[in-house]
Assembly symmetry: C2
Homo-oligomer: 308 residues x 2
């Protein structure tokens, strides 16, 4: 799957993943109204609004991008109907040929991580049959529990030819509270990065490992360091746009081959029509605004990479 992701990045010229993290306040009124008319102001109504909104965006941008990253929390908050909308979104994106990165940030003791891995990437055995659960292509994994929380994911990735991105240095303001603490003079994120590189060495695609890392765009200096610590690790970079990261901050996340990183933008793309820059599209054409925002983002990153 890492090879497939890289092929798609080369083909689209866009090392971009669109974060499908729908919040109701992003969803145009006409979509919400139609969903509530059918299902009421219920969890089902919210789930329908999310799904229609996502579908509009995916239909507008799928040919420009290699991948999407639905954040499961934004669906899980609407209970079972929300999880059904998550499943529909994953399935639809896969039909469109997109690589789907489930942003689930799971991680637990061994047998429990195995259940998460099976449910999100692999197949679960029921009697004599086996079934996919949510069936994403990649998922994000939390490393706080150490190797035995991560290895069950790797095992399923090997079986299914899928991949993971392990949290190393997250994009949020307080990520340093734990991740920047110094251990023998070196920050925790560097130690976790080394660990990711070690796990990944056993899990190579053609040029990059399918054990990737998450490093926030909001920490470009740490990105530069981690790029060297993990040379064959693909880095998923959240925090571009709405969280404050810019194209110029991102160049050090990439290797000399122009690969090695994929940049996520969520709100900046999916709610582009709410920004002044794309306001002329209006809520009715929210998906066209998203398409314009993807093209601008592709350009911003390409320029930054060309200028380095």
């Amino acid at each position: 799957m890492i090879n497939q992701l890289i092929t798609k990045i080369k083909k689209t010229g866009a090392p971009i993943v669109v974060g499908l993290d729908p919040m109701l306040k992003y969803i145009p009124e006409q979509i919400q109204k139609a969903a509530y008319a059918e299902y009421g102001e219920t969890l089902e109504g919210a789930a329908e609004a999310i799904w229609q909104y996502n579908k509009g965006i995916v239909d507008a941008v799928w040919d420009l991008i290699p991948a999407v990253k639905p954040q499961v929390a934004m669906y899980e908050q609407f209970g079972i109907p929300g999880m059904i909308a998550f499943q529909k979104t994953v399935n639809y994106c896969k039909e469109k040929g997109l690589v789907v990165i489930g942003d689930i940030k799971r991680g637990d003791i061994g047998s429990t991580s195995e259940a998460y891995a099976v449910g999100h990437l692999g197949k679960v055995q029921v009697g004599s049959k086996s079934w996919y659960g949510f069936n994403e292509d990649f998922v994000t994994v939390n490393p706080y529990l150490g190797s035995d929380g991560v290895k069950p994911f790797i095992k399923v990735c090997q079986e299914e030819k899928k991949g993971i991105f392990v949290l190393v240095k997250t994009s949020n303001p307080s990520s340093g509270e734990l991740q920047d603490k110094l251990v023998d003079g070196r920050p925790v994120y560097e130690l976790v990065g080394e660990q990711v590189a070690a796990w990944g060495a056993e899990c190579m695609g053609d040029s990059y490992s399918y054990v990737g890392a998450v490093v926030g765009a909001t920490y470009p200096e740490q990105g530069r360091i981690l790029r060297k610590v993990m040379p064959r690790t693909f880095i998923l970079v959240p925090g571009y746009g709405a969280q404050g990261g810019k194209g110029a901050d991102l160049v050090h996340f990439f290797n000399e081959d122009g690969l090695g990183a994929i940049i996520n933008s969520s709100r900046g793309i999916i709610a582009a029509y709410q920004q002044e820059k794309y306001a002329q599209y209006g809520a009715a054409n929210y998906a066209d605004a998203s398409r314009a925002a993807v093209i601008d983002m592709r350009e911003d990153i390409a320029q930054a990479l060309a200028a380095r």
Copy 2:
């Protein structure tokens, strides 16, 4: 909710939480057969088997215990039908008057943690209405992202009078890879424990905080230290029984008042009939075996506490 949990612990004399972590290999054949006869060897069939199995156990033990802890991964592995079984289990346990600790180990950047908090503990707004999602009483939270990953949970707990348990020192063999690393001569778990105590100081019930901690029974020495670092923090202690922890290992997790900790056992209770000790019950009476195992566990802990 922390006050309610403590009241129930006193009333039952059992600082015990039963981990409802169903795996198909634990579920007696007669239950699986009946479920597959109705739904086939499908995700729906597995979910039905889990739900019937859980219901049998809850019906057999609810009067002996204050709380249950369903591990969501064991449901999530069966996709949407599994999540429906999770929801039914949560609802049923609440009807039985049990405190429900959702073992979800979520944690993300601020707005995303807020969505998890709303979905699992609080109510989500849909138009002019608001709805509970999964509606557990407590959830477990991963601290790798720092304060802004945890505080949204605390905010919802304040509004809803609920609680959390933050991972401090987990029970698994590799937990030390990150959690034992020394920062200025002190292990990471101690620093996280101090942070939990600080968050919790603002969130007090009558005698304990509703911001609790997870510390594994498999690390009794660390439990002793953390008990002192977090004197008003309630500690959720997994790892008893099948993972290797014994009653005598647990005494230092408790305060002098005999409170301050609640011990989880999962497989040791729910699959008790598969142990030699309870084999006489047989698969048909698996729930009676679980009841016997709860009584033995209560006795083991009481004796250990009396002997200290």
